[in-house]
């Protein structure tokens, strides 16, 4: 059904664009003064209207299926993904322990070691989180999902800052920024739990 809706939408768009592309009588007229008295719209407006109507119908069908899928995602308790892939909600929860572990170790790490640990966190948790962000929105709606994503995005940016500071040899800044990482992902976790219970 999703594919059908998409295809009907595409066909409608193609009809609309094709009809809209035709030049108007005014545009075809070479004499500017004469052109002013001719219609400035192509004579394919009915076909354009048909295309828009078909595209609108396809769009409605497409959205219906998408909204149904999103509602099903909300029903799932943790918004987990297919197969062995962790959903973003799970990922936020599972990220807390590695962050605590790094917090314990951070004072004893040098620049390259800290960079390596950050890269590992990014590859394992942050990048998959970012790629699955639509599932936050599917699960919690646009407003709620945005709230959770704000916090995770801030945490990600601060993790990037930790990496940059460590690579630059500024370990004090790296450690200081890391406290912001922890606070941000903790806030994300709390937000996700609060929204899940609502």
């Amino acid at each position: 059904m999703k594919t059908a809706g998409f295809l009907i939408f595409v066909v409608g768009i193609m009809i609309g664009i094709s009809a809209g592309a035709k030049l108007s009588p005014a545009r075809l007229e070479t004499d500017p003064q004469a052109a002013g008295e001719l219609s400035r719209w192509p004579d394919t407006i009915p076909e354009f209207g048909l295309g828009i109507a078909v595209a609108a119908a396809g769009l409605t069908l497409w959205w219906r299926v998408v909204l149904k899928d999103r509602a099903a995602a909300r029903v799932a308790a943790d918004g987990s993904g297919a197969g062995s892939e962790l959903g973003p909600v799970q990922l936020v929860g599972q990220l807390q322990q590695p962050l605590k572990d790094l917090e314990k170790d951070i004072d004893s790490l040098d620049g390259p070691e800290l960079c390596s640990r950050v890269e590992s966190l990014v590859d394992q948790f942050v990048t998959p989180l970012a790629e699955g962000r639509q599932r936050f929105v599917d699960r919690f709606g646009l407003a709620g999902g945005s709230e959770a994503l704000n916090a995770t995005a801030f945490g990600e940016r601060m993790l990037n800052r930790v990496w940059s500071a460590a690579a630059d040899g500024h370990l004090e800044e790296a450690r200081s920024s890391f406290t912001e990482v922890i606070a941000a992902f903790r806030q994300a976790d709390e937000t996700v739990n609060r929204l899940a219970q609502a």
């Binding site: 769009l59 960079c115 407003a143 801030f154």
Partner: protein, 655 residues
């Protein structure tokens, strides 16, 4: 990023130093270096744009020089400090582009109508407005939608490679070297085969020798059987991956479906084909491009509506940022708060009004109308261009600028001076918006504080507009005494499609913006004697200015408004609204952009997208992030640097 291989560069002294010194970010060194680079690039940009009709980028050059100076010479630069340097340099450079592609048209039309003060105020207004309107969209574009901003990624890769060394730097260097060698080979013309193209319909041609023709004299020209071999273009597709497919699909739809339909139904008169120099250009100029502009507008408008809850949330978080910082919260505490944004917006509006009221023939109601419409349009156009840049690294500035001037000319009933004031402000704002977003993307990737980038951009970016305005004025005044007056009815230096091409900014392919208009304008411009330091018939032909001059003359002539394809804009907007409402973010902008651009650019980009998808499927996401991204960034940087070098060489060689 392979930090485990970078231990060699960190010494005990370096670590000890790090403990006591604060982490340098917004520093005097970064600001001064950024300003010097920005002003230098800006002046070079003005000259090159008047000479060749193309521009020069700034971010990647500034990032490289920033690393060399801040780390190499001063021995203490940091990545975030270099980011501030390149933010300033690119901001100051870019704000000149809005000036150099609009103001020369005024000089060419009627030098006595040029009023420096209103233009200067308009330029400053545009610089401030462009930053103010785009900042609230940072979260939506960069953090929610995760728009790629290939230029921003490339700049971040340079900044990180400079500090981290190791594998990423090597991959970046490989990309740069390969891209430079390839670009030089293409520019040299050694691979160009115009005879093969003529005889067999296959071979390399085009202005930069990067257009591969594959029609084989079998495929008609109206299906545009040409692909760009620009590695920068392909690299933008590599970085976009699957997300760029709608852009590619839009191009396929335009040229392999719509164009044949138009030809088969006889919708394109022979005279039009002859005038445009081919069926493909006739269809492109009169059908696809204006439809594409309409779709861009409709798609962007609907995109704002669809994303309104998220944008509202972003604005609320901005409003809460100051409160969050005071109460010890961290999320959002390093953003610019709503107060300076509102202040900046108000200042921009007041300045735009001032500029409008000071220009000739403008009444108070006219000034109010142009200020309100200009501000709203500047916001929408900046959003469109920033979104397009984020998704494809291509900025449809000429189309948006054209709409700006046309819209104001209609609203102000043919008052060219007044229309151009708003046109200048909008053009500067558009450039600033896209540039700010690219820089904020870079900042996100390296962990910069966005508030600092935004603050400094507000503070200094207007310098570029004034610099460019002054440079244009000086160049107009500096007509050599021994240069004879060109004859009154000189044969038109009709810019061909290549030289009228849009500025080849550092990380976007040449955007063929106004070929149809350029051909017409070139003919008309050449018919009148040019008495200043630039224009057709002089050493600085100002092709973009000449094109705009032609459009303005055409629009303000009797019946001229009939030539404005308002039907295409409106019908395109209708389609764009539908596309923007699809459950696929940015569809309206992507498809509209594909129709707006020549197909050889879209096709090359699409090849990059497909290649990335194949690589990701076979090698995985991590490989793409750690290996492919730095190589792609290198390809972008290499071609940008070579293009810049070639432009400067061309200018110097021509004298």
């Amino acid at each position: 990023m392979d930090g485990s291989r970078d231990s060699d560069h960190l010494s005990a002294a370096g670590v000890a130093k790090a403990v006591v010194e604060p982490y340098r970010e917004l520093t005097v060194a970064a600001i001064v270096l950024g300003l010097i680079q920005g002003i230098t690039l800006n002046l070079a940009f003005v000259y090159v744009a008047l000479k060749l009709g193309m521009g020069l980028g700034g971010s990647t050059v500034a990032a490289i020089l920033g690393y060399a100076f801040l780390r190499g010479v001063m021995k203490k630069g940091t990545m975030v400090e270099n980011n501030i340097n390149q933010t300033i340099a690119s901001g100051v450079n870019t704000s000149g582009s809005g000036i150099v592609f609009t103001v020369p048209a005024l000089y060419l039309l009627d030098p006595s109508s040029v009023q420096f003060l209103p233009l200067a105020i308009a330029g400053i207004a545009g610089a401030i407005l462009g930053v103010a309107v785009i900042i609230p969209l940072r979260k939506q574009m960069i953090e929610m939608d995760r728009l790629r901003f290939p230029s921003g990624v490339a700049t971040a890769t340079i900044i990180q490679a400079g500090s981290s060394g190791g594998e990423k730097a090597k991959l970046l260097a490989v990309g740069v070297i390969f891209s430079v060698l390839w670009k030089v080979t293409l520019i040299s013309g050694v691979l160009s085969t115009p005879e093969l193209i003529r005889d067999y319909g296959f071979g390399l041609g085009g202005h930069d020798g990067d257009e591969l023709h594959f029609g084989f004299n079998v495929l008609p020209d109206y299906v545009a059987p040409i692909v760009s071999l620009s590695l920068m273009n392909m690299a933008a597709g590599l970085l976009a991956g699957r997300g760029g497919l709608p852009f590619f699909a839009g191009g396929v739809l335009s040229w392999w479906v719509i164009s044949p339909i138009a030809m088969q139904n006889g919708w394109v008169p022979e005279e039009m084909i002859a005038q445009a120099g081919g069926a493909d250009w006739a269809i492109y100029g009169s059908m696809l491009r204006p439809l594409g502009i309409g779709m861009l507008i409709g798609g962007a408008l609907m995109g704002v509506v669809m994303a309104f809850p998220a944008i509202k949330s972003a604005l609320q978080s901005l409003a809460a940022a100051a409160k969050a910082a005071r109460s010890g919260g961290v999320v959002g505490a390093d953003e610019l708060t709503l107060k300076p944004l509102v202040g900046g917006l108000a200042a921009g509006v007041i300045l735009l009004f001032t500029a409008s009221i000071l220009s000739k023939g403008m009444s108070v109601p006219d000034a109010i109308l142009s200020t309100v419409v200009g501000t709203v349009w500047a916001g929408l156009a900046a959003l469109i261009v920033a979104q397009a840049a984020g998704m494809t690294d291509i900025q449809p500035m000429s189309g948006m600028s054209l709409i700006s001037v046309t819209l104001m000319l209609i609203l102000l009933q043919g008052n060219i001076a007044g229309s151009m004031i708003v046109g200048v402000a909008v053009c500067v704002a558009i450039g600033q918006g896209a540039d700010m977003m690219q820089d904020l993307k870079t900042g996100f990737l390296i962990g910069a504080r966005p508030g600092k980038q935004q603050f400094i951009q507000f503070c200094v970016t207007w310098i570029g507009a004034l610099t460019a305005l002054w440079a244009v004025h000086i160049l107009w005044q500096a007509r050599p005494a021994d240069e004879p007056d060109p004859p009154a009815a000189v044969a038109a230096e009709s810019p061909d499609r290549e030289s009228a091409a849009e500025p080849d900014e550092e990380s976007k392919p040449a955007e063929e913006g106004s070929e149809g208009e350029a051909k017409t304008a070139g003919t008309k411009a050449g018919e009148e004697a040019v008495k200043g330091g630039f224009g057709p018939g002089t050493k600085l032909p100002a092709p973009q200015g000449a094109a705009l001059k032609g459009i303005l003359e055409s629009l303000s002539s009797e019946g001229g408004s009939a030539s404005v394809p308002t039907d295409k804009y409106a019908l395109g907007a209708g389609i764009g609204l539908l596309l923007g409402a699809a459950p696929m973010a940015g569809l309206g902008v992507l498809v509209g952009l594909a129709m707006y651009l020549p197909f050889y650019i879209t096709l090359g980009y699409g090849c990059g997208c497909l290649l990335q998808m194949v690589i990701q499927k076979t090698k995985g996401v991590a490989f793409c992030e750690h290996k492919l991204v730095p190589v792609a960034a290198g390809l972008i940087v290499g071609e940008a640097l070579t293009g810049m070098g070639h432009a400067l060489y061309s200018v110097m060689a021509a004298g």
